[in-house]
Symmetry: C2
């Protein structure tokens, strides 16, 4: 049996054929071009699905379904995109629109829809760092902090659409302003953007810090990697920044463990490339914060990178 | 079909017969006497179950099972009490011990075990304020802040035992010390104890506040009810205390809604007796804090009081 996955991102659309082990057999990429009409974006997706179906001569005995990972608030049950910020879409009945693919290839296809971060969580469970487990939480440390929850092999995103907003738990009441309009969210402390914000401020206040030389004295060049590099070179300002960053991340992680006690908690996104430099101090801090008995949850780095979303989307139709 | 529920509390053991609608047909109460051996406590429970089984002439065609709500960390799958603080118990194999009841009444009985707060959540879903719904979260605002989660009609308490510790989410990094050893937990702001702590401090700092006269100038008489009463009598100090209390509670509630988007979120425990005086301002604050679309979750007061735990325990064997 084969599975088609669609990863609709702010930059690219990726449509791929995935086998039952979660391996990508073939994939195609086209630019999303977010300024066009929603229907035009999905016409491209339909076209890409059709190409794969015809190339691999898929029929209803060999194709289990098409799963789609979409940024924003998705009503998975009804097949409706309530809204999306990255790609301007609102109240779009994607379930109904995708029937156009069925007409084109003249076959009944089951469609499945989920938020893209939720798909990434499922992808890691099936074919990534969560393989062999059943219950997983993923935090994506990028421009924002995304989240996905897997309970008993399935995506959990709340009773109403759009839950699992793990980056928007308040950890500092009246703290740093968050992009969501609230204050003190985990995202406002544990995203790459938050680390860059704090690093720029610290660099200004400490002219001799390596944060300045490593950015060629232009703070617009500041990245999360620069901060971790400066820390590796024993820059005291960067050491403090990274320690604070991991402290806040640990608060959010411990909160989630106290609620879900998951088998595995994975970190993905740009900052997760720090690997054990991130997870070792994080585990130490989380151990001290979790309620009750010892830390049982495995804390690790996600392994599939950008493929997680595509693989997880495909696996929606398992 | 009938169901036996056991509510093992720090003060009393309640064992009752419950019908399929969640009504208590009959119940018996004995003191827990927590200083005795764990086996002796469970011998009492076995005895009380036997009395009910014989009184109602229950057999395997009329008794679905015995469900037990136990304070502490319960491994529901294995039938083991990992530990309990309220009643000193550790690594007790309750599943195995309850087989003594089967021998006494000469019948096979299915046993079910869960944390007592989780049982209260299930009780409210079956027969209380959550009736007719499938997905519910309960926060008990008492000496501490307890929590229970129901997903799709079933208790969710994490992959490993002892999750759903909703009172131990950090909402103020490095905030007030919590009984759990951590700082800034929701419990350290939204428990009755937290409100009493803050009210004592405020009363001392404001000698003319009603908080002093209403406690006969003895702050040891301070209760959460006194603070709400003083607020109702337009005492400015109490108005601020209650507003701050509800603000922190709103942060915790919004965090949970951002993750679970539950159908219903219920408040129970002493402070919940304030009813709409609590829920009306709470809903207003939560509405401003939740991520994305409008507040869909119903926020309400639990209705079963102390019976919730017994009813929910019985309903474990549904």
């Amino acid at each position: 049996m084969k599975y088609i996955g669609v990863d609709l991102g702010g930059t690219n659309i990726v449509v791929g054929l995935v086998d039952s082990e979660g391996n990508i057999v073939k994939s195609y990429t086209r630019p999303t071009l977010t300024t066009r009409k929603t229907e035009e974006i999905f016409d491209d997706i339909i076209d890409m699905c059709q190409i794969i179906i015809e190339e691999f001569k898929l029929d209803s005995t060999s194709l289990k379904g098409v799963g789609m990972g979409i940024p924003g608030e998705i009503d998975s049950k009804k097949g409706i995109i309530n809204y999306s910020n990255n790609i301007p879409m609102k109240d779009f009945n994607v379930g109904s629109y995708m029937q156009n693919l069925c007409k084109k290839v003249n076959m009944d296809i089951p469609f499945f829809f989920a938020n893209d971060a939720d798909c990434a969580a499922l992808g890691e469970l099936v074919a990534g760092a969560g393989k062999g487990h059943s219950d997983l939480i993923i935090l994506t440390l990028g421009t924002g902090v995304g989240g996905g929850i897997i309970i008993n092999h399935k995506i959990y995103s709340g009773f109403y659409a759009g839950g699992a907003e793990l980056g928007h738990q308040t950890i500092v009441h009246n703290g740093e302003p968050c992009t969501c309009g609230n204050k003190g969210c985990l995202e406002a402390y544990a995203s790459a953007s938050a680390l860059i914000r704090d690093a720029k401020k610290a660099a200004k206040e400490n002219p001799s810090s390596l944060l300045n030389s490593l950015t060629n004295n232009n703070l617009e060049n500041m990245t999360a990697k620069v901060v971790f590099d400066a820390k590796d070179q024993k820059d005291n300002v960067a050491i403090k920044l990274v320690d604070d960053y991991i402290e806040y991340l640990a608060v959010g992680v411990a909160n989630l463990i106290n609620i879900f006690k998951p088998e595995v908690l994975l970190l993905s996104g740009g900052i997760s490339k720090q690997g054990e430099k991130l997870t070792t101090p994080l585990k130490e801090k989380v151990s001290k914060k979790v309620f009750g008995s010892d830390l049982q949850t495995i804390i690790d780095i996600a392994t599939l990178g950008n493929d997680a979303g595509l693989i997880g989307a495909a696996m929606l139709s398992r």
